[in-house]
């Protein structure tokens, strides 16, 4: 696990991702604060866009192993693939948790909505960021290249996301991971299915778990 943390910390793109995750939400919150009135979701809306930082983090955490065959060396050092994945996942979760907590506190500080009762919603933000990072990580593990997960997931972070367009076609789209997960901390979400923060989080976690399970099974069986 310490090795995996070191590897992650040694990647320049990981630090760039951390800067993105820390800077984007407060910046957007600052820009928005001039034009948009303060509401129940001030600050939290902006934190949705900050996941771009942890998307990059999740992607480079695996993607870097597949550049220049580093994965071969890693698997020689840790031949048990299960342990290797567990350590890698643990390192990513730890890094994203720290990043999400810091970014949430700074962003809510900018919008002035930081108070004692914000606690549970900040936990929601952290869970959402961690699950999103794991989703990017799982897809990258499957595709062995970061392009596809980055494109799909960044596109879907945009102001009018593809999943939001899908909710106009079928209400079931409200159960897609980002729509369900956003209910962890967004109160006025425009979604066809109203979920409590807990069920929203569980629905998203189920998606992430499914992707990770498939990715882990594939990783276990194929040539590196």
């Amino acid at each position: 696990m310490r090795t995996e943390l070191l590897k992650l910390a040694g990647l320049p793109s990981a630090w760039a991702a951390a800067v993105l995750g820390l800077a984007v939400p407060p910046l957007i919150a600052f820009l928005n604060s001039r034009t948009v009135a303060v509401g129940v979701d001030s600050g939290y809306q902006e934190l949705v866009f900050g996941v771009i930082g942890v998307l990059v983090l999740g992607v480079v955490s695996v993607g870097s192993e597949y550049r220049g065959r580093q994965i071969m060396t890693s698997l020689i050092c840790v031949p048990s693939r299960g342990r290797f994945l567990a350590a890698k996942t643990g390192a990513l979760v730890l890094a994203v948790t720290l990043l999400a907590t810091a970014s949430a506190v700074v962003t809510l500080g900018v919008t002035g909505s930081l108070s004692a009762e914000a606690g549970p919603r900040i936990v929601g933000v952290v869970v959402y960021w961690v699950l999103t990072a794991l989703l990017a990580y799982g897809i990258t593990l499957l595709t062995r290249s970061g392009i596809l997960p980055l494109t799909i997931l960044i596109l879907n972070t945009s102001v009018v996301s593809v999943t939001y367009l899908l909710t106009r076609v079928t209400p079931l789209a409200g159960y897609l991971p980002d729509m369900a997960g956003a209910q962890l901390f967004i109160r006025g979400l425009d979604s066809p299915v109203g979920l409590t923060p807990l069920t929203g989080g569980l629905v998203m976690a189920a998606w992430v778990f499914a992707v990770l399970a498939v990715a882990a099974a594939v990783f276990h069986r194929r040539d590196a």
Partner: protein, 196 residues
Amino acid sequence: MNATRAELIKLVTLPALSLTVVLTWAVTAALVLALDAGPESIRYARAGFVVLGALAAASEYDDGQLRTSLVCSPRRLELLAVKALVLGLAATAVAVVTVLIAGAGDVLIAGAGDVLIAGAGDILIAGAGDVAELVLTVLLAAAVATVLRGAVPAVAVILGYYYVLGPFVEDWLVDGPWLPAAAFLIAAATFVRRDA
């Protein structure tokens, strides 16, 4: 002329590029038909063009192929110019088809399928701005990928700008042809001066 032909062959034989193009067309068609997204579908199709430009430019950096290319064509500015020209032409063809798909979907939805053939010219005239924008997107992505020597960071930077940060800063930063032009100047300056 040889250099142009070589770059064209490199471009059309990359499987990842063909896959990107096909996926872009498929997603555009799906967005127009299933979601009734209309002109908005071009906005999403743009992501495919970002990937196209980034992959095309970064493919030479994966395993040192660029060194071979530079041995064959040692004048760096000339190589970069030929690459941009070939990529721009190929991107124009892809963009024309994309705009036609988006436009044809609109016509189909409007219930005027029989005027489709006659309407192709009209769709293109109306969508000429979109074609230009998509081609410039490809060139911007290629320039950024050349500077960063990788497709993943380039895709992250440009998509992050277009889809996440862009809508919030558009009052200050006016998007336009100056952006790809500036990116290409920077790419040319770094490419000429650094080690391969």
